[in-house]
């Protein structure tokens, strides 16, 4: 299933490198020897987790089907509207972040609100539905930062 998550993200205009660049930008202040290659490897490791794959598949499918008006109503309108009160997108992002513990929470919220890098781009395509994608990408980047932070400490064997 790993390729499905990477493929679905790619179909929606988000490459692994887009996410790796955000990880590098956020973590370089804590670890000046961090490379884009290491970030890329970390994002891929996060995308290998089953909980993450299920969240990517669920969220992106909802976005895509809402976009082509294939979801039953009122869910289609709720997803297309991206109402800040919808909440299901954030619940799904939280499921991703939690896989590396609560330390990813502040990066997740920061990215979802400030929308740097690829996240800025996602919001600017007319007719493109990214209600879940926004939170999925922010959550994958935040989880990747959390994974790096745990590894930097060394003591943690994530078995």
């Amino acid at each position: 299933m790993e390729n499905i998550a990477v493929d679905l993200l790619g179909q929606r205009g988000v490459a692994v490198d887009d996410m790796a660049e955000l990880v590098l930008r956020l973590q370089t202040q804590y670890n000046s020897s961090l490379t884009l290659d290491k970030c890329r490897h970390t994002v891929m490791a996060v995308l290998t987790k089953r909980e993450v794959q299920h969240a990517v598949i669920t969220g992106i499918t909802l976005d895509k089907m809402a976009e082509r008006a294939a979801l039953d109503e009122p869910l289609g309108s709720l997803v297309r509207g991206d109402d800040p009160l919808f909440g299901m997108d954030k619940s799904l992002g939280l499921a991703i972040v939690n896989v590396y513990g609560s330390i990813g929470l502040s990066n997740y919220g920061f990215l979802a609100q400030e929308r740097p890098g690829v996240l800025a781009r996602l919001g600017q395509r007319p007719g493109f539905v990214s209600t879940f994608l926004d939170d999925i990408v922010a959550a994958i980047v935040a989880a990747s930062c959390a994974r790096l932070a745990h590894q930097a400490e060394g003591a943690v064997a994530v078995p």
Copy 2:
């Protein structure tokens, strides 16, 4: 939107009274003067919350569309399969439970695992997809118990 949640649950064979009966069964040991009518009122109050309504709409729509093979693959198969590793159903249930705080967590897990009352019935209809419905019903009952517990203490004004 309140009627949409009640309507969707009703379409899937779950009446407000089915949930109220489970609430009564779980809470009567703590409050012997509790009535079915009070439980019914509590379930309705939970179903008025927007986060709960959004979760009901999202989850039941996914079940219904998976059932009639209208979801894109592989999401359709994941929802139909109800793989215990899927996890998105539980994330959505958690979003409902959390609205009345973490005290609903143990009732939620207990109901999801033991499947008393209406929950037993849901699993026995051939061809009927209740991957999300099971967790939604368990979560609404657990949230209702949490709401009653908070009220029984009196001191809590849930404003």
Copy 3:
């Protein structure tokens, strides 16, 4: 117990008005007629919730006792160190945010990372332990914003 939460926050240098000002700053873009008085009322309503009170009591007590070296080791050192990998402070903040649903998550993360207003001040007092306080304040502000957003929509009766 309501006064205990307000009192504990006040003892640690955080007034209800400090939090109300952050709410106003974050929400004024969505609601230009919002007043500080309305924000103050909202923060107080959040502080009335039992889950919030328990989190405030637990977190601030841990901070205070760690500060005066009264916690058993290694917990005392973990709380004093405010290691970004500690995580318990974020779990407790999440319990507060969740009371108004997942929509508060991005404000919570943003505040925890950017530290505007009173949050900037908290980190600058030598010897002052605010490991939990930082997350508690960010979470109360985020929950207050979520409560306002729900109310602005009107349809939500938070019963």
Copy 4:
């Protein structure tokens, strides 16, 4: 820090084998070739996770200090009272469970409510405070079951 978590649990009367036995009891229906030794290994792997260690240290320290009346009030009374409305014990348990994804949630709730095996014993010692310990043990067992379930599927590389 691994030994600190095992040591703290042992000091409170919970051996790794007590938890491994509960894992075996819950999972044997899904995997008849599962052994106690495999369960023991899995519990140890869960106890190696930093988020889990921090939760164990925080929760058991609160129990122990509440027991000897060393916590500031009203936190001491809240922890000693084990009020079902307290909630912080469940938030901390949730942080442990989430490390292996939401699939552990129903086992966690079931164990917290039904209290089989070592959990039954914990509640029967007069003067012994196990407000957090109960939820910690239930959560470690549930997380261990989730880890086994992910591994049984084979496809998951938890890197």
